[in-house]
Symmetry: none
Subunit: 199 residues, 4 copies
Amino acid sequence: MARPKSEAKRSAILDAATRVFAEQGLGAPTARIASEAGIAEGSLFTYFATKDVLLNELYLAIKTDLRDAMMPGYPSTESPRDRAWHTWRALVDWGAAQGDKRQVMNLLGLSDRLSAESRAAGMEAFSAANALLNDIVSRSPMRDMQAATAFAGALLGAMAETTTDFMARDPVQASQTRQDGFDAFWRAVGPDINQGEPS
Amino acid sequence: MARPKSEAKRSAILDAATRVFAEQGLGAPTARIASEAGIAEGSLFTYFATKDVLLNELYLAIKTDLRDAMMPGYPSTESPRDRAWHTWRALVDWGAAQGDKRQVMNLLGLSDRLSAESRAAGMEAFSAANALLNDIVSRSPMRDMQAATAFAGALLGAMAETTTDFMARDPVQASQTRQDGFDAFWRAVGPDINQGEPS
Amino acid sequence: MARPKSEAKRSAILDAATRVFAEQGLGAPTARIASEAGIAEGSLFTYFATKDVLLNELYLAIKTDLRDAMMPGYPSTESPRDRAWHTWRALVDWGAAQGDKRQVMNLLGLSDRLSAESRAAGMEAFSAANALLNDIVSRSPMRDMQAATAFAGALLGAMAETTTDFMARDPVQASQTRQDGFDAFWRAVGPDINQGEPS
Amino acid sequence: MARPKSEAKRSAILDAATRVFAEQGLGAPTARIASEAGIAEGSLFTYFATKDVLLNELYLAIKTDLRDAMMPGYPSTESPRDRAWHTWRALVDWGAAQGDKRQVMNLLGLSDRLSAESRAAGMEAFSAANALLNDIVSRSPMRDMQAATAFAGALLGAMAETTTDFMARDPVQASQTRQDGFDAFWRAVGPDINQGEPS
DNA sequence: TATGAATGAGTATTCATTCAT
DNA sequence: GATGAATGAATACTCATTCAT
């Protein structure tokens, strides 16, 4: 095969797209992304057939990146609270460190150009987190809710998102904010105080 | 010719824009909005000099609408928890009822076409809510945080948003979900149990 | 209405398209046509929504032009041969005078971008000629053929086309060539010599 | 490495081009042709330096193919009418059997991408037919025309083309149509009835 | 003021051709 | 010679904005 498609080039495009979309929104020209990636305008379409394909694959790449950031050091055998803390910390630190990725992930999440398949695939990446949430919710005051686990997951995402915003806004306090955010989350979703042991 | 430009037409444009942006994103053509509003393509620019002006004024209009929805029946003299509940309920019901407005508000919030002034003006609209949050936070475990009130406000917004999503997804359970969401919020931000009185 | 769509501009576009397509083929850029018509690149699409629409409407316009060229002075009450001669002459003179139109009509006729509707509408324009052909064919040696009239019409078109080519190639002999072509056509399709009267 | 470029591959490209151009017009991508021919995109340019070269050589190949189809069994010693009939039959049968080739030949004939040389070379292939036409025309009513032989040749081509169309349209009647077409041709171009012997 | 035609810069995508492997 | 990735000019069509009516 003559000059195989370079994985490095593919990554360069995804990285460039992340930067450019973060700066200019999803309406940014593909030509801008190509030049940012250091390739010719037309070459982008060798790697991603259309802009929509690029958008969808970028979403998956970012979700995968996030998942990979949450795995290392996961304390499977510790208490739910410890595991929740690990997850929270990874989530929030990733968001703070990968500002562009986080922003683009949100942009894509709201966009109508994301296919249902991509959305579903994006969720699948977090089955581990779901198991944890199940565990937590079973002892939570929310335990009787319909769709309690999904709701808890959504709250986790939303509260972590908020926390990340504040960490980015005031980096000096970042580690304290991270803790405060988690405490709030744990109060909201953690074990029922009148019922369970003090976690 | 005291007030030549018709206020009704201005509203029609804002309403049409809300509908069209919700359906097609902020990239939707102004021509589409004009036709949806029942006016000529060019007339839109009599009311809003550029598309960016329209975007910014739409944001303010929606924020104002939301604020107006939260005022009636506000129980100024009741307990913080009652006032918080009123606020929560208004917020979440508005979101559920005004799906398009909520969606467009989020779209605009993420957009880079929103001026800093608009963003600031959007916040100002909620000074009443801020006073309440101040009150709540002073008795909350978060009381020692930097920017505690702002953080609590952001959490309120994020958790209400999440709750609204779930209410829209399962209308049968909506009123229960609304309550569950509030309970979670109150656990997270409400008074410190070891310290304050049960509100 | 503010500045109504100008019929003159529409014609200018069709004329420009005829010239440009004749010179560069149907692949010629719409931008070229617009500039040739003296309007802005985008204005072309005010008059013809897509290039395909332009192609189809151009075909109809040319066919109509041809039909209109064949009507004046049609000797309805004369002998078939006289009527045939009038038709032939009009056809062949139009082709010689309107070289670009003839060429583009052929180009479009072969193109797969012509809709079935356009093709059908293009034929309808020539119902008068068909009546004449019917008349002629009934006395012709071809009278027993399946689809004799259609076949005779196709031969008329093909032979006139050939004749026009030779007239254009040698203008000095044009009027003689026109006559020779007709004579050949009449021998081929005209009345059976062993049977009918010498027309 | 006496003849490194494979003749088989060259033919495969020409065949593929015929099929693809017939289906999609001359604007079809070279990449499509290459893939249809079972070779790599770039390899096509080893055999044909540019697309225009391919177009011109394809034209010649088709013309040659047609000429070769007309040679076998040519009754050199028979009457002009018999020889004409043989020629007509070969021509028309080739057109009916080789629909794609005929169509592409016409497409190319109208195209401005065909060089004058190719056009001339295409004609040369038919010197045998020209001799025959000369013979026929000398006894024809057209005998006094300027360029009579060329005109007769053009009529032959045009009438055969028309006949082929009708044969393709109604295959059941094909052999009858073939005969009817020839009869019309012979009436148009054959010997002068008042003068020559009944051929 | 209202209208909608006119404008032309901007955009995703295609494709003949080149060239590193 | 064969391959197919790389290139960038070219092209149809869109759309915010202007302006003649």
